[in-house]
């Protein structure tokens, strides 16, 4: 956890630096006859991030050099990474598939995949949820409330008739 704390702080420090770079470009000073420049607030915000994470990094390094990582809790519980990746990777793949097949079809595939592969749920149950739930969502959002959800490339060719 201590190492992860350090790395996240370093990452946020870098973000602060990137933001500061852009706010200097925009102009953070008082512009006569106009008022504060567009970079005024971002500059001080990034300064805040740099100072806070900077202090934190120094503290963290001192602590690490003093006590080391012995007896530290892990960031992710032992055996915890696998289930997380089992959620993260399929979800990401689903989101990418939305571009091709549209949200509902991609979600249906995702539902079936997750229930079968991770949940080891019977085919009948899987098929029922995987088919009926997306149809229900389609009816509620696209038809009843007229909120167009992404149809993907496929959706522009196939029109659902009801």
């Amino acid at each position: 956890m201590r190492k992860a704390n350090l790395w996240v702080a370093v990452f946020l420090f870098v973000i602060g630096a990137i933001v500061m770079y852009d706010s200097v470009r925009l102009g953070f000073r008082w512009q006569p006859g106009f008022g504060p420049g567009a970079g005024y607030l971002p500059f001080y915000l990034s300064l805040g991030v740099l100072v806070c994470t900077g202090i934190f990094i120094v503290k963290q390094i001192r602590q690490l050099s003093k006590v080391g990582i012995v007896g530290d809790k892990r960031l992710i519980r032992e055996g915890g990474l696998k289930p997380i990746l089992w959620v993260l990777i399929p979800s990401t793949v689903m989101v990418i598939l939305v571009y091709i097949w549209g949200l509902h079809l991609a979600a249906a595939i995702y539902l079936v995949f997750y229930m079968r592969e991770v949940g080891k749920i019977g085919w009948l149950e899987t098929a029922l949820v995987g088919v009926l739930f997306p149809i229900g969502m389609y009816v509620v959002f696209d038809r009843l409330f007229l909120i167009p959800l992404p149809g993907g490339i496929l959706g522009t060719y196939i029109k659902i008739p009801f």
């Binding site: 996240v8 504060p36 567009a38 992710i76």
Partner: protein, 503 residues
């Protein structure tokens, strides 16, 4: 006063109209389900359903969103008591005594105590909302940009000083939220900020997407990492005998109830909200109680105090939102986002210009919390059964619904990608103890804070002293500074006392 009362009656009659009543019922049922399911909380439950309200009248829309919140407040404790799994963060304190009581075979009694305490907390919160909101709004009409900015400083310093997390991490969280709100076109100069030449970043970050990612996906990652174990205690059915017992017990433990309500309403007014309120109430109730040894083994007061505090905080969080435009909790921030979609800007002017709307909302707080009590009392076992559906089915459905919610806010594909990114950030921040609520609130209030600051500086010609001008801004800023340094101040006071006291 009389005028307020007649306004309130009008508001209640608005929320009793058949359509609005139906909307409130749907919202409550959905809210309880959201509250029962771990990984789907009040904030992102409301966020996902915001797109549905666009087609409604503003009053009906806000009633739907608020009812989901009331439902989630009630529902979170059902699973805490029956399964030892807090459905919501504010019901963690309920597991300490609620689950032991249910394990002894008194699940019905524990549920009754919890629901009635919720209701009591709600009543005090709504009373405050009905009678203080007009007063505060009237006062806030005198606020200029400097005063508005000072109130925001107060809000965020409360996170740092009273949030109980590492002050450095809280500050970073606040700054990051404001930075995210800066991305895109600058409203004053029209320049593109922090986009680094990318067209996608021009649209900026929508806070609803951030809420869905941070609280929705992040929570799911945490849940699957821990692995969900169900240790069900039997039943969850509430009988009339249980109800009679519960009412008697609440009357006996009136002190714990009052303590919970007051702490809850106080904590709800300033950001931080329901979760710390419930822990604080539990601690105080345990300290002052005659039978404090019973706590942790199914003491009634151990259920009453945190539950009434949680609901009191949840309801009174609406007060700063509706009067000042500064939400007291992430969920209220999302509800406020819903109002903005209707073109209603919360704040003192809302009372003047859209009085019917404001009083409709306050009326629905009365009605919603009242019906909510009956809904959970009657159907608690049915809602508890939701959790018996296997998580491998629930989980992908939640992700799917989150994706719909994220997309439908702006009809942008990129928002779904952001949602996944925010999910990973939410998981890391939760694990490393960076608070998420200030980040979300900063993202919501970013534009308003920045324009208030710039206007104030323009008025003064660039002199920052304007932010400390008497009579209103100065005391608010002073309080903000005291609260910001409160942990160190209270430390010094304690040291002094020890020196002076026994020596």
């Amino acid at each position: 006063m009389a005028e307020n009362f007649s306004n309130l009656m009008m508001g209640i009659s608005v929320s009793m109209q058949p359509y609005n009543f139906m909307v409130a019922m749907i919202g409550l049922v959905l809210g309880v389900i959201v509250g029962v399911l771990p990984g789907l909380g009040g904030a992102n439950g409301v966020a996902i359903l915001i797109p549905l309200t666009v087609a409604m009248q503003p009053v009906s829309g806000i009633i739907l969103l608020a009812s989901i919140y009331w439902g989630a407040l009630y529902g979170g404790s059902i699973t805490s008591i029956l399964f030892n799994i807090p459905g919501e963060p504010w019901s963690v304190a309920t597991t300490f005594d609620g689950y032991p009581m249910a394990k002894k075979g008194h699940a019905g009694r524990a549920l009754v105590l919890s629901f009635f305490s919720h209701f009591a907390g709600a009543v005090l919160g709504v009373v405050m909302l009905s009678f203080f909101a007009p007063v505060i709004a009237g006062f806030a009409l005198r606020f200029g940009p400097a005063e508005i900015f000072s109130v925001m400083v107060l809000t965020f310093s409360a996170f740092v000083g009273l949030g109980g997390k590492d002050p450095l991490k809280t500050c970073v969280s606040i700054f990051l939220g404001f930075i995210l709100s800066c991305v895109g076109m600058d409203i004053v100069t029209g320049q593109l900020r922090l986009t680094y030449g990318s067209i996608d970043l021009m649209g900026g970050f929508n806070f609803i997407v951030a809420v869905i990612g941070l609280f929705g996906l992040g929570e799911i990652f945490l849940t699957v990492e821990e692995g969900l174990k169900l240790e069900s205690t039997a039943g969850g059915k509430v009988t009339f005998k249980d109800m009679a017992w519960g009412i008697k017990e609440i009357i006996i433990e009136w002190k714990a109830l009052l303590l919970g309500c007051v702490i809850g309403c106080w904590m709800g007014l300033k950001p931080g909200g329901a979760t710390p309120a419930s822990f604080m109430a539990y601690g105080f109730a345990k300290q002052g109680h005659k039978k404090s040894a019973e706590f942790g083994h199914g003491a009634s007061a151990g259920i009453i105090a945190p539950e009434s505090a949680a609901h009191g905080a949840g309801t009174s969080a609406a007060l700063p939102m509706i009067t000042l435009g500064i939400p007291g909790s992430p969920t209220m921030a999302v509800i406020m986002g819903g109002l903005m979609i209707f073109g209603l800007l919360p704040g003192p002017m809302l009372f003047r210009e859209h009085a019917d709307f404001v009083w409709g909302f306050i009326g629905s707080c009365w009605i919603g919390n009242f019906i909510g009590l009956f809904v959970v009392l009657a159907f608690a076992p049915i809602f508890a059964a939701v959790l018996k559906i296997r998580f491998a089915i629930i989980m992908p459905i939640i992700v799917y619904v989150c994706a719909i919610g994220a997309y439908a806010v702006n009809n942008r594909m990129i928002d779904i990608y952001y949602m996944i990114g925010f999910g990973v950030v939410g998981y890391l921040f939760k694990k490393l103890d960076y608070p998420l609520a200030p980040l979300v609130l900063a993202l919501v209030l970013g534009d308003m804070a920045e324009s208030a600051l710039r206007q104030a500086l323009l008025i003064s010609g660039g002199n920052p002293i304007v932010l400390f001008q008497p009579p209103i801004a100065m005391p608010i800023m002073a309080v903000a500074i005291i609260i910001f340094f409160w942990p160190s101040i209270s430390g010094i006071i304690k040291k002094r006392r020890i020196k002076v006291g026994p020596g």
